[in-house]
C-alpha cells in the first residue's frame, strides 16, 4: 500500500497543477508582455519599462485606478455593513436558518450579467423606478441621479455581492459558543457592550473574509461600470478591456492588469493587518 502522503499528493495533483498553471503561466506572460511595446500591428519584444512609465504618468490611469479602489471600498463597506445584521439575524434569531440561507443565495445563482441589466432597467431615466414614482405622484419629473454614475455602480455591486458578505459572517457568528455570550452577560455586560466586546471581535475573521471576497473582484469588475456606470462610473477594467480590444495594445493592457492586481493586493494586505491588530486591542 502506498503511503498516505503519496495518495494525497496524487489525488490533489490535477486540481493543484491545473489552477497553479493557469495562475502562474498567464502571470509570467503578462509580466513579459508588460515589458514589451506595441508598434501598430506587431509587438516589439525589446524589454522596456515604457508601459509602466506611461501608466504612472497618464492621469486617466491614475484616476481610474483610484476610483476603482474607492468604489470597491465603498461597495465593500456598504455590503458588509448591510449584511452583518442579516447574518446575525439568521445565525442567532431566525428559526428556519436553512430556508433563510437558501432565500439569500437563490438570486445570486441567476446570471450576474442579467442582474446588472435589471438594475439598468430599474434605474434608467424612463425606467421602472422613475415610472413607478411618477405614477404614484411622489415625484414630478424623472430622477436623473439614479443611473450612469458612481451611485448606480455601488448600488448594483452591493446587490450582487450580498450573499458573499452574508455567508462568511454567518458562519463566524454561528461558530460562537452561545455560553460565551451568556458569560459576558453574567459578568455584567448589557447587549451593546456584549456585542462590542465578544460578538464583534469573534466575528472579525468572518468580516475580513467577506471584505476580501468582495473587494478584490470588485476592483476589477467590468460588467457593472459598463452597463450602469456611464462615463462617470467607468473603472480600471474598462480601460484594460479597451487595450485588449479596440485599442489593440496588449502590452499596455498587461501592464494595467498587473498594476491593478498589485494595488488590490497592497490594499488587501494593509486592510488585513490593520483590522487584525484593531481586533486584538478589544479587551
Amino acid at each position: 500500500m502506498r503511503s498516505e502522503a503519496t495518495k494525497g499528493l496524487t489525488l490533489s495533483a490535477p486540481a493543484t497543477l491545473y489552477v497553479g498553471f493557469l495562475v502562474a503561466a498567464p502571470l509570467a506572460i503578462l509580466v513579459a508582455y508588460s515589458l514589451w511595446t506595441q508598434t501598430y500591428v506587431s509587438v516589439d519584444r525589446t524589454p522596456t519599462l515604457a508601459n509602466y512609465r506611461e501608466a504612472f504618468t497618464d492621469p486617466l490611469v491614475r484616476h481610474l485606478m483610484i476610483r476603482s479602489i474607492l468604489i470597491a471600498a465603498t461597495v465593500t463597506i456598504a455590503t458588509v455593513a448591510l449584511a452583518y445584521p442579516i447574518a446575525y439575524f439568521i445565525a442567532l434569531r431566525a428559526e428556519r436558518k436553512t430556508l433563510w440561507l437558501l432565500l439569500i443565495t437563490i438570486p445570486f445563482w441567476s446570471s450576474y450579467l442579467l442582474r446588472v441589466f435589471a438594475w439598468k432597467l430599474i434605474l434608467g431615466f424612463n425606467g421602472v423606478m422613475n415610472s413607478a414614482l411618477l405614477g404614484l405622484g411622489l415625484i414630478d419629473e424623472p430622477l436623473t441621479f439614479l443611473l450612469y454614475n458612481e451611485f448606480a455602480v455601488v448600488l448594483t455591486l452591493a446587490h450582487a455581492w450580498a450573499p458573499f458578505a452574508i455567508l462568511p459572517i454567518y458562519v463566524s457568528i454561528q461558530k460562537i459558543d452561545l455560553s460565551l455570550l451568556e458569560a459576558a452577560t453574567d459578568l455584567g455586560n448589557g447587549p451593546v457592550q456584549r456585542f462590542l466586546r465578544v460578538t464583534l471581535p469573534l466575528t472579525i475573521p468572518g468580516i475580513i473574509a467577506a471584505c476580501l471576497i468582495i473587494f478584490i473582484p470588485t476592483v476589477g469588475d467590468y460588467v457593472t461600470p459598463s452597463l450602469v456606470g456611464g462615463s462617470d462610473g467607468k473603472m480600471i477594467a474598462n480601460l484594460i478591456q479597451v487595450q485588449f480590444g479596440a485599442a489593440n495594445n496588449w502590452p499596455l493592457g498587461a501592464t494595467l492588469s498587473l498594476l491593478a492586481m498589485m494595488s488590490v493586493g497592497f490594499v488587501a494586505i494593509l486592510f488585513v493587518l490593520s483590522s487584525t491588530s484593531l481586533g486584538r486591542r478589544i479587551r
Partner: protein, 368 residues
Amino acid sequence: MTEKNIIQLQGVEKRFGNFTAVSDLNLDLREGEFFSLLGPSGCGKTTALRMIAGFQEPSAGKVFIDGEDMEGIPANSRPTNMVFQSYAIFPHLNVGNNVAYGLRNRGIAKSEIDQRVTEALEMVELGGLQERGATELSGGQRQRVALARALVMRPKVLLLDEPLSALDKKLREQMQFEMRHLQQELGITFVMVTHDQYEAMTMSDRIGVMFDGRLVQVDEPPTLYAKPCNRNIASFIGEMNFLPAHVTEENGKGLTVTTPCFGILDIEKNPNVAQTGRDIEIGIRPEQLEISREKPEDYDGTVQGKVRDVAFYGENVHYHVQVDGVEKPIAASVPNYFHTVDHRPGDPIWLGVQSTSIIDLGQNTIKS
C-alpha cells in the same frame, strides 16, 4: 455557614410550551453552604440554576437572592456569577483579560483590577499566567480560569453548571477537593449542578435531588444515602437491592415486616417516606450484607442461595446471589481485604442482614 437564607425559591416553575421543566420548586439555601442539585440529565436542575442566574425567567413563582426579589432583574445585574459547563473562556482574550472581563464593566481603577486579577489567579494556582492565550490552556487550566473569572467578581452566590464534567477522572477527583477547600476559605455560597452522585456527595454540605422537574429530597449526603425517600433516589445514589415486604405491625418508630427471603424483621420507619401502606418496599445496600459459606450467626435475617456472577472491582468484590423467592439476584459486596475471591459462580452461599441496615422505602410502586 450562617442561618441566613441567601437564596429562596418559592413555588418556582418553568414551562417550555407544553413541557414543564421545573415544577413547584421550593428551596432555601443557607449563606456559605456548598449546595448541589443532583439528578439525571433532563431533570430540570440546569434550568433551575439558570433561573437563579437570570438566564431564564420563571413561568411562575419567585426567586429571592439575599432577600431581594429577582423578578425583572436581568442576569447582568444579579449578585451571582456562573462557571459554565463549557467554561466559556473568551478565545480572543488572554487569561488576564478573561479574568478582568467583568471588573472592566464596573469602572474599577486599573491598578485595582490588576491586583484583584493577580490575587484571583494565585487563588486558583495559576499565578503568573496572565499573558497565556485562552487557546493554549489545558482542560484543568480552563476550569481554573473560569473559577477565577467568576470569583474575582466577589459574587454572593457562585453557580456551577457541571463544572467538572469536561475533565478526566483523576483531575476531576483532585478538583473536587480543591473547589471544596476554596469554597470553605472564601465562605461564598456555591450552588452546583451535577449528575454525578459521587461529585455531589464528596463536595456538598447538602444535596437536593431532582427527578422529572421536581425536587424530591434535600438532605446532607450521609442522610441521603442512609434514608432515601423513595426508590428512585435509592437507586440513583449508590447501589441498592430492592425487596417487597408486607407490614404486619406498625408501632411508633418501628415496623414489623414479612420479607420473601429474610423472614420476619423489625425495622425502623423511614421519616422521609411520603407514602406508605401495607405493601412496602425495602432496600438493602450491598455492603451491608454478610456473605459466607456457613450460616452466619447473630444476624436478624439469613437466607441461602447460589452465587450467579462474580464481579471483581479491585477495592471490593461483588457477588450476585440467586435466592429462591426473589426474582433478581441479590448483590452483596465484600471489601477486598486479602486479595482473594472466596466464592465462585455456582457455589452455595449464605446471606445475612441486620434489621437496622434495612431501609424502609415506603409504598411499593412496582407491583403488589
